[in-house]
Amino acid sequence: MAGQLPIDSRPWPVRRDQALQDKTMQQTIQFVTRRVANAKVAAYTAYPEGERLRQRAVGVKRRSVENMEEHLAVFAQQVEAHGGQVHRAKTAADAIRTVLEVAKNHGVQRVIKTKSMVTEELELNRAFESVGIAVRETDLGEYIIQLAHEKPSHILAPAAHKNRAQIEALFDQDAAAYHTEPPASDDILALTQYARRRLREEFLAADMGVTGGNFLVAETGTLVLITNEGNADMVTTLPPILVSVVGVEKIVADWPGLTEVIQQPALSGVGQRLSSYTTMVSGTRGTDQWEGPDEWHVVLLDNGRTLLKDTPFEDVLSCIRCGACLNVCPVFRQVGGHAYGSVYPGPIGIVETPLLTNFEVLPELPSVLCTLCHACGEACPMDIDLPGHIVQLRKIKRDRHMDAAGVTRSYRWWARFWATPHGYRRSIRWARWGQRWFVRHGRIQSAPGLAGGWFNTRDMPPVASPTFHEWWERTRGKGHRS
């Protein structure tokens, strides 16, 4: 069954033009992506065994996905043996229903959350708010964009598009609303201290915690969360009820497997050998234990993922959400995350969004947001064939007649002419004849049809006289010898 993803329903040209006009966002995104992309390269350079470990991690992820169902069954058994409950959700709607039911059963009023792309996929915050439950994001980046009423623009750094001044303004507003002291200045320490103080109140007041999950270990039924802020420790230990919503593809069989993959998101995401905090949950609080939730629900979300199993796109399920592909993408660096209109932006987003939803939403993504430079394929630590998939998705679109008829016709005639030398020559004669109306000062400055867009911002020389073919024929060809 196809998955459901929330989208920005404004058409692509509107999303694009807004992004291209937002110079602050562009500058901020370019600064951040360049910094982390360079940090990743530096980290690998300083880590001779890094490449070998990365390859082993790829193997673990591939094998885990291959035997996903088997491992998930073991995982469920283990969680339930340790006091938790496991729910399978086929779609986003199923998952939301399950989570809201748990909240309702316990009369939950206030929820705190760790950063989680899967709950973005569900728009879980909106679902909570619609039934009157207050939600607080506790990851610093997520907290910032929650205050701004925005969505993440980057899968690892949700507020990557916001600069310090913008963040200070948001915190000032928040301080006024909560009648508390605003941050002392816009320096990073002051801003962080403000968030820390405010979030502490929220941690202590919450009656339910919601997490995503970076990994699930089948053999012990363990949820693994990695953070750089330690907020997952608080979310998983303070509130009495804990709900973890995790994509089915996050499963690994065992602890040796986990140790192979656990460093990869931070290493490729920000160039850090391991994230600062690793939080693990293996069950509810036992009678002899001080901490942990009284009740733990794990919602295993499919939402289109198993559609990819046993297809040429299966490697997409190895994605560890490190964001390395976003950081190196020349298009992402220009338009930022929001222009994609999907929860998942960047190269992985333009591949995953149509695949998870069977092209039901944002089908334009693979065509409009990629120059096929292959930087993503080079950057992906999980060896996901992103450029290859993007080309294949474009082909699927064409095969399903999703391109404009005129475009399809242009490509068809182009190939028909150029597949023979005679047709090629004929097309050149026509071009020479046709270009007379478009040459200004020795350059072509406009053109009709498919090529038209080029000339909005660029010139092109006219078709040469002679072309190389003609030059060769005149100087070296049969014409010359005779």
Partner: protein, 284 residues
């Protein structure tokens, strides 16, 4: 390994962009190859490798062009397994070497051919692909003959994305330029795309131009550091950046790498000569 003293016959794949928009680049390449004792042949039935269509998802159309390309160059090679096809574009070379085999395999199946027939196409593509070499890669194997005294003209070399990431050619072309006495000026974010992307530059011209402008901004800094021209082994990138410079009325010289080498060979390398070459007017 190059067979010292053995006269090699090279089949030239000029690419459609150079054929139509910068024939001087191919003429220069011929000059460079012949000066080094090679016999150059130009299979005149060649057209285009089909990458434009392939990247846009038009694989049936791309496969038509690919089959034509293979037929033309197989005929030219005439079963000589040592024969070389010199491609004047890293991107087109990558298309042939890396994409043709699977493209033709899948397309054959899509057309209802048997798996055996599909496999046969794949193998044909692989075989001819093994004989394709990108121009600067070929040049790097030749020793820089009669080196002129280093003139130290500053050039920025833009390495095309497919050249870098699909063919794995990274520093080779810059080394060649240095061997020929050029001073290679580094450019910020050298591994970033120029924004061309084939028909992407037409359909998504706003984004494509934004990416190009980023590259030109980096080029601006390199110019301050002494760069006097922009070159590449891919005319796709050069045509894109050059077209953008032209629209901005910026006369900064943009030339294909073989043109620089040919000029050096002739001992005519000066900045004035470079500028003239870059803006060569159409001959009547």
């Amino acid at each position: 390994m190059k067979d010292e003293g053995r006269e090699q016959t090279l089949q030239l794949f000029a690419t459609c962009l150079i054929d139509l928009f910068r024939p001087q680049a191919a003429i220069a390449a011929v000059e460079v190859m012949e000066r080094r004792g090679s016999t150059v042949e130009f299979p005149a039935a060649q057209t285009c490798c089909g990458q434009f269509s392939y990247n846009a998802g038009y694989h049936r159309e791309a496969a038509d062009l690919a089959r034509h390309w293979i037929a033309v160059f197989e005929a030219a090679l005439n079963n000589d397994s040592h024969g070389r096809i010199v491609a004047l574009s890293g991107s087109c070379a990558a298309m042939i070497i890396k994409e043709y085999p699977l493209l033709l395999y899948r397309d054959a199946l899509d057309r209802g051919d048997s798996a055996v027939e599909a496999k046969r196409w794949q193998e044909r593509a692989e075989r001819v692909g093994e004989q394709v070499i990108e121009f600067t890669e070929w040049l790097a194997q030749e020793k820089a003959a009669n080196l002129p005294a280093s003139l130290g003209i500053g050039v920025v070399y833009h390495n095309g994305c497919h050249m870098r990431r699909m063919l794995g050619i990274t520093t080779g072309p810059e080394t060649v330029l240095q061997d020929y006495g050029f001073s290679v000026v580094p450019i910020e974010d050298a591994d970033q795309c120029c924004g061309f992307g084939g028909t992407y530059s037409m359909t998504e011209w706003r984004v494509s131009t934004a990416v190009a402008d980023q590259k030109l901004q980096a080029l601006g800094k390199a110019r301050e550091m002494g760069a006097q021209c922009l070159t590449s082994a891919d005319f796709g990138c050069l045509g894109h950046l050059g077209g953008r410079l032209s629209r901005r009325r910026d006369p900064f010289p943009v030339v294909y790498i073989a043109e620089l080498i040919a000029l050096t060979d002739r001992g005519q390398l000066t900045v004035e000569e470079l500028q003239q070459m870059a803006h060569q007017k159409e001959k009547s």
